[in-house]
Symmetry: C2
Subunit: 324 residues, 2 copies
Amino acid sequence: MVTIRDVAREAGVSVATVSRVLNKSGYVQEDTKKLVLEVIQKLNYKPNEVARSLYKRESKLIGLLLPDITNPFFPELARGVEDAVQHEGYRLIVGNSDEDKEKEFRYIETFLQNHVMGIIASTIHSDRFLNLKIPVVLLDRTTDQFPSVYSNHQQGGRLAARTLLERGSREITVLRGPQHIRPAQERFLAALDVLSQSSACFYVMDTSFTFNGAKASAKEVFQKYPKTDGILACNDVVATAVLHEALRIGKRIPEDLQIIGYDDVPISELVFPPLTTIHQPAYKMGEEAAKLLLAILRKEKCMDTQIKLPVKLIERETTRKVES
Amino acid sequence: MVTIRDVAREAGVSVATVSRVLNKSGYVQEDTKKLVLEVIQKLNYKPNEVARSLYKRESKLIGLLLPDITNPFFPELARGVEDAVQHEGYRLIVGNSDEDKEKEFRYIETFLQNHVMGIIASTIHSDRFLNLKIPVVLLDRTTDQFPSVYSNHQQGGRLAARTLLERGSREITVLRGPQHIRPAQERFLAALDVLSQSSACFYVMDTSFTFNGAKASAKEVFQKYPKTDGILACNDVVATAVLHEALRIGKRIPEDLQIIGYDDVPISELVFPPLTTIHQPAYKMGEEAAKLLLAILRKEKCMDTQIKLPVKLIERETTRKVES
DNA sequence: TTGAAAGCGCTACCAT
DNA sequence: ATGGTAGCGCTTTCAA
């Protein structure tokens, strides 16, 4: 391992000088600087981030806490974050919390112990963040106590409900996601609001966000509500499972049954018929969260710390064309 | 921040003693130990991993380098790795390389600068790892120069081809993945081998692993080979896209056209008809890679450093039942 | 403009 | 069994 001393010796200067050119801090003569830079090149010297981090009590690391990377919505978020922080030289320590409080705590602990400069989290026990001295940005699963980036779930929920209504569903089943997950709950409530003000009848059924949960719910929904002619799913995985089951038992989509998903994960376009869904700008959300955190780290003032991104309807073929 | 000095002072012992109980090294009297432990509790002291890392030149960090977490195969791998290393107190720094040599280099650099103890990589430019002093385990995209965990692509490719053949496809189109990706190439070659020894005719078409590439290839395949009655796809995303397009243009699946995918990503079960595919034990592969790296770190000898896991056929409904 | 040296928090050696 | 202390590689005063 080549250290700053090696560079200093080789260049015939002191480590302080090398450090100065490394950090572009303090005065250093042009010639000396050039020389040092050359030696750094020649020796292929890379500063030891750990030593740096120890002294400065900071690092080039950011902690990213996600519920479960296996849920196809989150890789998009993660990529957005990664690509955005990468430009500024930051790297990610990531953890999947599985919504387990213990795991979350352990990861936060590790983040801190490794001097991460900030944390981006999509998690439900955000109270743990309250006393940290480093900035935290909440992503997707947010509360108002922290800088947050999320999408407009009111808008999304209403849009989904209206879409089904306007295209003629009269007996709608709402597949509600886990109640402790705020975004799921919000879009559910918004959809409910629209539905109650309509003349359509509707049912509510609980489901989970996971692949297995989705499969089970899909079977259940047609047993419980065989006559339902519109399904409003809490995410695309659930919608895909429902679509599968509907096709399996011989329903025509969208003639007999309309389905609308939520998220617009990549696969939604590839199932058949392709899924009508509410698009969340997941990648962009990740990017925005990263930018926000970076801005906070730079101590930029006067910026908006609650970023709400719009969603939009992606009309594909699990819904009928609206009569115009 | 509470440091080891604070603990030492509060407990009325030296930092050396505290360090000893922390690391369970050297002698320390039971009483003293108990006292120190209590103070640690009381002060909620957590050792600074950065300082530790600087001195010991090691850490509790492992670098994970993946091509693209957005491809649904990789989150499974990643979870396998994460869950396995987590038990031993290790955490992950992850990077998506996008198969870009530059990015890979930068990530490896960062890993090193942060004293990661080892690297698990699924990447194509493995020569960069040759001169590292830390252990490297290759995962999925492997070469024989490094400890590796991968699945049996020969077996998978043959199995896929045979499945199509045995179920009556006579005009098979093979959708070959990127040629520079070894697993894709291997299963392709194996499939080709089986196909050439059969009396069926077959075509080869190039495609990419991505969502957009898959969509484009799906359109193209039916223009070029409208009469094909069996598609052997390089992964499930491509298979799903093909299934979509086939259904769209009115083919009956599996009567007119059989499709077989590769990977068995979670969504494959949820599309309709559910996808017949070759299952790769992705999560387990991740786990095994982690275990292998951990074993190497512990300097355990006499273990197998080339772990080849079997694949299996998951027979769902994009292929016909075999006549028995 | 440059260098010497202290110190970030920890571990490990050498005394005692 | 315990304490003092050097040193991991770096940054940053302070002096020259």
